[in-house]
C-alpha cells in the first residue's frame, strides 16, 4: 500500500453563498464520500485549511496577506488515503463531490523516505 494526498481546490463556501438547504445537500455528499472511503479502508485522515494566511516570496522575501492563489485555485483542505496505486487513488478521487461547483482534486503520492538507506 502507498499513501496519497488529495489536495482540494475550489471556491470558498463564502463565494458559493449556499442556502441552508444547499449546504446540507453538499455536506451529505461529502459524508457519503468519506463513508465510502472508510468502508474500503482507504481513508486515513484529513483537515480543512483556515481561510486567509500569509504568502512569502522573492529573493528579498516579501510577506503578503492571504494565499497567493485566487478564487477556484484556492486550497481548501486535504485528505490522506492509502491505495494500491496512483490509478486506484485516481479512481477513489472520482467520488469528490465538488466537481459541479468548480472544485478540483490534485492526487499526489506521498514519498516514503527510508530511515536507513
Amino acid at each position: 500500500m502507498k499513501d496519497f494526498m488529495f489536495v482540494f481546490r475550489g471556491p470558498t463556501p463564502e463565494d458559493l453563498k449556499m442556502s441552508p438547504e444547499e449546504s446540507q445537500a453538499s455536506m451529505e455528499k461529502w459524508f457519503g464520500w468519506i463513508n465510502q472511503l472508510q468502508q474500503k479502508g482507504r481513508y486515513k485522515g484529513g483537515d480543512p485549511l483556515m481561510p486567509g494566511g500569509k504568502t512569502i516570496q522573492g529573493k528579498k522575501p516579501v510577506v503578503t496577506d492571504g494565499p497567493f492563489a485566487e478564487g477556484k485555485e484556492l486550497v481548501g483542505g486535504y485528505f490522506i488515503l492509502s491505495a494500491e496505486s496512483l490509478e486506484e487513488a485516481t479512481e477513489l478521487a472520482m467520488g469528490f463531490p465538488d466537481f459541479e461547483i468548480q472544485g478540483s482534486v490534485e492526487i499526489r503520492e506521498i514519498m516514503k523516505i527510508p530511515m536507513h538507506p
Binding site: P13, S19, P20, E21, E22, Q24, P48, G77
Partner: protein, 413 residues
C-alpha cells in the same frame, strides 16, 4: 441527517438571535447564521458527522453571538430585552436565550412578527419563508413561481417597514393575540394552498411548501399561546387535504378534481391525523372557518366514492361555510350538492345568478363544466353541449379535457 435539518435549524437560530440583537438588526442576524453554516461546511467535510449536528450548529451560533456582544459599541446593537438581562453577566444572560423553551418562544415571536397585519400578505409570506423556514430568496422564488428580484424586493420592503415602525418582536396579548393568530392562519393556509394548487411549480417543491406549512402549524400547536382550537382545525384541514396529495395530480401534471380522484391513493395515516386534530379542535365555543372546511374535508374522506358522500350533511356544512365565505366558488360547490340531492333545477338557477357569472363562464372552465353537467342531467342537451365544449377549450389540463370529451360524446343526440 434528518431532511431539511439545516433549514429548520436556520429558522431556530434566526429566531433566537433576533431576540438577542433585536428585530432592527435582522440583517446582522441573518449574516451571523450564514457564517455558522459556512463554518459547518468548512469543518464537517473533513470530519465524521457530529452526534448532534443541530446542537453543534446552535453552539457555534451562540459562541459567535457572545463574541459579537462583547465587541458591541452602541446600545442599539442589541435588543431591549437583552439590555435588561445583561446585569447577570453576558454569557449567562445569552445562555438563557438558548434554552429549548426560550427557542420555541422566540420562534413564535418570529412567526407573529412576520405575519404582522401592517405588512401586506405577499410580504408576510416571503418573510416567513425566509426567516422562519430558512429558505433563500432564490428558493422562495422557485416555490412561489416568482423571480429572485421580486422576492428580494418583498423581503426588503417588509424588513424596512418593521425597522421604520419599530414593530416589536413579541407575542401579542389579549384581543391583539387573537387578531394576530388570524393573520398567521391566513399566511399558513396560503402557503399550504400555494403548494397544493399551483400547477406551475414542480411537484417536489409543492410537496415541500405543503409540509412546511404543516410543520409551522404544528409548531403553533406546541406552544401554549398557539394551541387554540382553530390551530388544531387548520392543522386537521391540512392533513385531510395532504392525504389526497398523490391522487390530485394526473400523469400530465394537471390537477384532478376530487370527483375523479382514485381514493385508494389517499394517505390513510394523514387521514387518521386529520381526525385526531379535528377532535382536538372541538373545544371552546368559537367556530372558525377552518373547523367548517376541515369538517367538509373529513366528510369526503368518510365516503367510499364521490356518489356515496353524505350530501345532506355536506349541505349543512356548506350553508355554514357560505356565511363565512360568500364567494362564487363556495356557492358553486353548494349548488353541486343541491344537484346531488336531486334539486337540479334549483342548482342551475343558483349558478345562473352567481355574481359576475358572465365573466366566470368566460374565463373559468369549472363553471362551464358544472353547469354543463347539470343541464345534461336536466335534459337540456343543447345547452349542456355548448357549456361542456367551452369547458373543454378553457381547461389547461389534459386529464380534464379527456374527461370532458368523454362526457360530450356520451350526450344523447
Amino acid at each position: 441527517m434528518v431532511d431539511h435539518l439545516f433549514r429548520h435549524q436556520a429558522g431556530r437560530m434566526i429566531a433566537v438571535l433576533t431576540r438577542i440583537f433585536g428585530i432592527h438588526n435582522l440583517e446582522l442576524v441573518e449574516d451571523t447564521v450564514q457564517e455558522t453554516f459556512l463554518k459547518a461546511l468548512q469543518v464537517w467535510k473533513f470530519q465524521p458527522i457530529p452526534d448532534n449536528p443541530s446542537g453543534w450548529l446552535m453552539q457555534v451560533a451562540r459562541n459567535r453571538t457572545i463574541d459579537l456582544i462583547r465587541r458591541q459599541q452602541k446600545m442599539s446593537d442589541i435588543s431591549e430585552e437583552l439590555r435588561l438581562r445583561l446585569q447577570t453577566g453576558t454569557e449567562d444572560a445569552i445562555q438563557q436565550f438558548f434554552l429549548d423553551t426560550e427557542i420555541a418562544d422566540s420562534q413564535l415571536r418570529m412567526i407573529f412578527t412576520c405575519c404582522h397585519p401592517a405588512l401586506n400578505t405577499e410580504d408576510q409570506v416571503a418573510l416567513t419563508l425566509k426567516t422562519v423556514s430558512g429558505l433563500s430568496a432564490a428558493e422562495i422564488a422557485k416555490a412561489l413561481v416568482s423571480n429572485d428580484a421580486t422576492i428580494q424586493k418583498r423581503l426588503y420592503r417588509a424588513k424596512e417597514y418593521i425597522k421604520e415602525h419599530s414593530i416589536r418582536f413579541e407575542i401579542p396579548v389579549g384581543q391583539e393575540l387573537h387578531h394576530r393568530l388570524e393573520s398567521v392562519y391566513t399566511v399558513l393556509y396560503l402557503l399550504f394552498n400555494e403548494g397544493y394548487n399551483s400547477s406551475k411549480a414542480d411537484e417536489l417543491i409543492r410537496y415541500d411548501l405543503c409540509s412546511e406549512a404543516m410543520r409551522l402549524c404544528k409548531l403553533l400547536t406546541e406552544h401554549p399561546v398557539g394551541n387554540t382550537p382553530s390551530t388544531y382545525a387548520l392543522l386537521s384541514l391540512m392533513c385531510f387535504q395532504a392525504s389526497r396529495f398523490d391522487s390530485r395530480i394526473g400523469d400530465d401534471n394537471s390537477i384532478i378534481l376530487l370527483e375523479h380522484q382514485d381514493r385508494r391513493l389517499w394517505n390513510q395515516d394523514l387521514i387518521r391525523w386529520g381526525y385526531y386534530y379535528l377532535n382536538r379542535s372541538s373545544t371552546g365555543d368559537h367556530l372558525s372557518i377552518y373547523h367548517i372546511e376541515s369538517a367538509i374535508a373529513a366528510e369526503h374522506c368518510l365516503a367510499r366514492d364521490f356518489a356515496s358522500t353524505n350530501w345532506k350533511h355536506m349541505l349543512k356544512l356548506y350553508d355554514c361555510l357560505l356565511e363565512y365565505k360568500p364567494i362564487p366558488i363556495v356557492m358553486l360547490n353548494r349548488a353541486i350538492i343541491l344537484a346531488q340531492l336531486g334539486l337540479v333545477e334549483e342548482a342551475i338557477g343558483i349558478i345562473r345568478e352567481l355574481p359576475g357569472i358572465a365573466y366566470l363562464l368566460k374565463h373559468h372552465y369549472i363553471y362551464n363544466a358544472v353547469l354543463g353537467d347539470l343541464y345534461s342531467k336536466a335534459g337540456n342537451i343543447t345547452e349542456a353541449r355548448g357549456l361542456l365544449e367551452n369547458a373543454y377549450e378553457l381547461t389547461p389540463s389534459l386529464a380534464e379535457k379527456k374527461l370532458l370529451r368523454g362526457r360530450i360524446e356520451r350526450l344523447p343526440h
